[in-house]
């Protein structure tokens, strides 16, 4: 361990004294405050905060990622190219200790810098409201929607495959005429979507009921938010839709038994295709975490009302503090940095500096847009799709999904970044992917010739 730490210390010294890190540090120290002052978003306090947090965190993450790649690849390739390795590898240190030392140095540097910069972003986010004379309403909004970590529950996806199959079998010929250009697979897909939407639609005078389990707000005095968006079959003249809601433990109403937890009724009129939230006291949730939400489509509407599949309805409640959420977000970034450090080490174990850094940047960029790449495979024709799904898609799946694990996505709308989510990031990005890369780099480095061939 002493030897590993000696190499790590040397790596940190190198990064700091070779001014690689200094440039990034200065850049961040200048940019973060400037962004804090200039970020305005839509002009509201909420907008300012969201813009600053989003850009500040992304910038910190991006610059530290680049720094990690540069330092991790440079520190090893420069030792080999500058031949300092001759005087290190001939000391009583095993090759894997050397690599681990380099990695440790980079990671320690990352941790220190991340703490500094994430701390700066956090401090500025917390202080920002004091610099603006925001109206009461905005401050309340910010407190309930930004400085929070709200868990989100969406209704479970209903399995409609059976229904779809029977429907398809029944009306095969008819369907094939309607969807002439589509394959059977695509027709089934289309039917599935339609069936699912049906389950979330209420004809006039009818309703939809959603049931949730495991709803765990922080306390009975907290608020629950039902966030919804209407869609309609036929646009009403004023673009508004009526709704009669019942929120609470509807089970207890069954046989006229005594009502223990309150049931919240709400009649309202809201615009179509816009998000709205109903705030409810959290004590409507039953003791066992059960919550039901009923929507009744009153005859006034004269149209079918439906809730879009992705974001038609969700239940939000405060599950943790903003600070705890921010810390977990920082840890997600750290996972990303650790992965990149290992990637840099791997590249440097067999490539020269320029090639290694290019290699890492390509992977970094691919990982950043991996969702987009994977989506594009889904859109591809069936036959080509098979080839790709076994080649490029497999490779992309092996890469870290930086976009999927983007912490800003949670912090900006004040959503809960749960421990289990963090755990899945640690597991997939660090414990599996980074570990495999590390093992690979140790094997390569242990068996390669360190000296250049000079005759």
């Amino acid at each position: 361990m002493g030897r590993i730490w000696a190499v790590a210390r040397n790596t940190i010294r190198q990064a700091l004294r070779m001014k690689v890190a200094v440039i990034f540090i200065v850049l961040l120290l200048v940019l973060l405050p400037v962004m804090g002052l200039t970020a305005s978003g839509d002009g509201t306090l909420m907008g300012r905060l969201q813009t600053f947090l989003s850009y500040g965190l992304s910038l910190t993450s991006l610059l530290l990622c680049l720094l990690t790649i540069i330092v991790a690849t440079y520190t090893i390739t420069s030792d080999i190219e500058g031949r300092q390795i001759y005087m290190v590898a001939t000391k009583p240190i095993r090759r894997h200790q050397f690599i681990l030392g380099k990695l440790l140095g980079v990671v320690v540097l990352d941790i220190v810098l991340l703490v500094i910069f994430a701390g700066t972003v956090y401090a500025m986010v917390m202080l920002l409201p004091r610099f603006y004379d925001a109206p009461e309403g905005e401050i309340a909004q910010v407190n309930s929607e930004f400085y929070t970590a709200r868990a989100s529950l969406v209704p479970p996806v209903i399995d409609v495959s059976e229904e779809v199959r029977t429907l398809y079998e029944e009306k095969k010929d008819q369907l094939k005429q309607v969807y002439q250009t589509l394959s059977q697979q695509e027709i089934l897909k289309e039917l599935t979507i339609r069936k699912r939407l049906e389950k979330r639609a209420a004809a006039v005078g009818q309703g939809v009921l959603w049931e949730f389990e495991n709803v765990k707000p922080l306390g009975p005095n907290e608020s629950l938010y039902i966030r919804f968006k209407y869609d309609v079959a036929e646009n009403p003249a004023d673009g508004q839709v009526y709704g009669r809601w019942q929120i609470g433990d509807l089970r207890q109403m069954r046989y006229g038994t005594e009502i223990k937890t309150p049931v919240w009724p709400e009649d309202r009129k809201d615009p179509v295709r816009a998000f709205r939230e109903i705030e409810v006291r959290a004590d409507v949730v039953a003791e066992d975490g059960y919550l039901a939400i009923g929507y009744l489509n009153p005859p006034l509407n004269r149209t079918v009302v439906l809730f879009p599949l992705e974001d038609g309805l969700e239940v939000l409640y405060k599950a943790d503090s903003f600070t705890a959420n921010f810390i977990r977000a920082t840890l997600v970034i750290l996972c990303r940095l650790i992965f990149l450090a290992v990637l840099g080490v791997l590249a440097a174990s067999f490539l020269s500096f320029p090639v290694a850094i290019l290699f890492c940047l390509v992977i970094f960029a691919t990982g950043t847009v991996s969702g987009f790449i994977l989506e594009s495979f889904d859109l591809m024709g069936k036959n080509i799709g098979i080839i790709y799904s076994y080649t490029i898609e497999a490779v992309v799946q092996l890469l870290p999904r930086f976009d999927k694990y983007n912490p800003s996505k949670f912090l900006v709308p004040g959503r809960l970044l749960s421990w289990s989510f963090l755990g899945s990031v640690v597991l997939s990005m660090v414990c599996i992917k980074a570990f495999l890369l590390l093992v690979l780099s140790l094997i390569i480095f242990s068996f390669r010739e360190l000296a250049k061939i000079i005759i």
Partner: protein, 412 residues
Amino acid sequence: MDYAIETISLTKIFSDWWGRAKVYAVDDLNLKIRPNEVFGLLGPNGSGKTTTIKMLLGLLHPTKGHALLLGGQGADPKINARIGFLPEESYLYRFLNARETLDFYGRLFGLAPDVRKMRIEALLEMVGLKAVARRPVGTYSKGMARRIGLAQALINDPDLLILDEPTTGLDPIGTRQIKDLILKLAERGKTILLCSHLLADVEDVCDRIAILYGGKVQSEGRVGDLLRQADKRQITMGAVSDKAIGKIQQILDEEGVDCEITAPMEKLETFFIDTVVEAQQQSQPTSGAVSTTDIGEFLTAEKSQGNILDKLVSTSEAEQTPAVAPETEHVEPAGVTGPQGDQDLLGELVAPEAEPETEQVAPVEKPGAPQPAEVPEVKKNVLDALTGRSATQDDTTSSPQEPEKDGESGDG
């Protein structure tokens, strides 16, 4: 085994991109170096010396054959812990200063903090870099980098020292110092593999040599045996009258032997050092104070060579404590102790190494240019010069030498 270094048909073939053999860098090399031997590996550029060393140390994989160091593999940390290695150039971390550099290598050897600290100070003093120990080594001249490279090779008190071109970039005084150090270390039971194409260096210090060419050993043996001209004799004497010479020639004529009589030539190395010392003495009044410090340091360096060896080898720390005292001297100029210490050290240096050296190197001279000043004597001359002067003039001598050294290394 019983060999400090052994190679068994060691071969390195460098192949091109397609895997076709291109160059035999080392070809079926069988070296056997006994413990406590100073072995010189000679050869022109590209003869496979450095490649051999890299294979010994596990930096390159042999295409065929084996290399054993102290009975084990060169890549084994247990073996590495007993080896000191100075590559053909000092590949240092430019951003570290001298002290940090040595500290880093000390940590790699897993030395305890107090031992590490003690050795670093002693080594810095020995190689004469104490005054610049806080400067990043990236700003060092080649000679200074060489010195720090040597210091790192010694920090673990190695049993086996592998030195690749140790004297490149060093001024003659530094070179002399390294050669003396090698002899001193050999005397203390270390094995040294010296790799060089500077023949004078090798000749001065090596017990045995092997000459490589094209990756093969062309010639191997004891230096004395290889160079002795058995059919010639050389007489060195003081100034004599022409008459006496005539008589000698007459006797030799009767014997039927040709002879050539010339004035002996001094070795350039000796001449250089003498000149430098003299020049420094003359310039002393003008640049007294500053240079005094420096020379004190330089001489202390040589002196502490004895000290550090004591420390490293016998680790008799009790004795060493008084010896540390002179260290303070070179900070403030003058002091009788400084030169005296030098004298002690020099005496020490001269005494043990002169004898064994003499036998080996004595027969080296070429008939064409008789050189009565044989290597050990040369050394004695240098040392005498330094000692004599320092004995009579104390700090006077001390002062001038160091700036010269500094300048030298600065230029290098």
